[in-house]
């Protein structure tokens, strides 16, 4: 599961939909095995679109849980693709590495509201609930 996908998942328990704590799921860094996939080419425009789209606070939080404390607290503000400086490109490369190249191969994630734990096995998160919670 790519790091970016953590920005699109929430707890499956319907009662947690009334809480603000069902997203993002909380990752236990010590139990997560991360891998790098270098087959996806760096595309600055794509990463800029990702930045536009994501919930940045959730990105920062999950990155910290997985051991990356280097992200700025506020969403980076970049101009147009044509006007990118070298510093901007460095920021975008770092985010490409984090969002797209970094995957969680094995691990677990927990709802901050109800505490339910979801497992990631062989790169696939399982968000199904046991019958008594479904």
């Amino acid at each position: 599961m790519k790091f970016l996908t953590t920005n699109f998942l929430k707890c499956s328990v319907s009662a947690c939909d009334n809480s603000n704590d069902n997203f993002p799921l909380s990752f236990d860094g010590s139990k997560c095995e991360l891998i790098q996939d270098t087959t996806i080419e760096f595309n600055p425009e794509f990463i800029m679109n990702v930045i536009d789209r994501v919930d940045w606070d959730a990105i920062v939080l999950v990155a910290q849980e997985l051991g990356n404390n280097s992200l700025p607290a506020a969403k980076p503000v970049l101009g147009s693709v044509e006007g990118l400086t070298e510093d901007d490109m460095a920021v975008l490369r770092d985010l490409h590495l984090l969002f797209i190249q970094t995957s969680i191969k094995e691990g677990e994630m927990k709802c901050r509201n109800c505490g339910h734990i979801y497992y990631i096995k062989n790169g696939i998160p399982n968000l199904l609930l046991p019958p008594h919670l479904a």
Binding site: M1, F8, K10, T39, P125, L128
Partner: protein, 220 residues
């Protein structure tokens, strides 16, 4: 005509791509122009119940809707289907270089609200006494039934998605859903229109004894 992905799966466990799957591909091919017009920026394409993965792979292979700016998420209840979807992507060289993840889950219940830009759904639409229970073990032989049996009028699973469409789709989001005639799609479409949705028939075809259609749902 756009190429159709190669698929090799164990069809005792995975729904074998059939007329319904191909109708959905044809509908999406037809919709390319509409989708390119509709979106700019990042597009999250999400398929519920990908089964073999043929539809999601088709989207990746043909860079629909907007080549390098799309990310793909395929959600299936079956552990066999989430694996098959990745294998089909790989078989068609669509795994490398693409932002694709598969998730084992129940429709949109594990997805953050209002994020899906393009939803694809070829549901279990066959009228049946009930929707099968989710098997407890991966080795259960009943996983395939979940891909077919749709309960009363074959609409039980589809109706769940329609009822939650407003919280699944992004503001500009659009859903493509397949129906058979026994689902009474025109009636379903009318009910959704009354709730404020815009519904368009994209494809319609007689396939053997079934009449299949693909509808597009978007906000007015």
């Amino acid at each position: 005509m756009l190429p159709t992905p190669l698929v090799k799966c164990d069809y005792d466990k995975i729904y074998e791509p059939s007329e319904d799957s191909f109708l959905l591909l044809d509908a999406l091919e037809k919709e390319q122009g509409y989708l390119v017009e509709k979106f700019n920026g990042l597009v999250l394409v999400c398929e519920f119940g990908p089964g073999s993965g043929i539809v999601t792979t088709f989207m990746i292979q043909n860079r629909i809707p907007v080549g390098l700016n799309s990310v793909y998420l395929a959600v299936d209840v079956s552990p066999w289907a989430v694996e098959a979807t990745l294998e089909t992507a790989k078989l068609n060289n669509c795994d490398k270089g693409t932002v694709l993840d598969t998730v084992q889950g129940n429709l949109g219940t594990g997805l953050r609200k209002n994020q899906v830009d393009v939803l694809l759904f070829n549901p279990p639409y066959v009228p049946a006494e009930e929707v099968p229970e989710v098997p407890e073990s991966k080795d259960d032989y009943k996983w395939l039934d979940l891909a077919l049996d749709g309960g009363e009028d074959g609409m039980v699973v589809t109706q769940k998605v329609l009822d939650n469409l407003d919280s699944i789709l992004s503001k500009n989001g659009v859903a493509y859903i397949l129906f058979c005639a026994r689902n009474h799609p025109e009636q379903v479409a009318e009910e959704m229109r009354l709730k404020g949705w815009k519904i368009d028939l994209v494809e319609h075809r007689k396939a053997g004894w079934e009449v299949l259609s693909v509808y597009r749902f978007s906000r007015n």
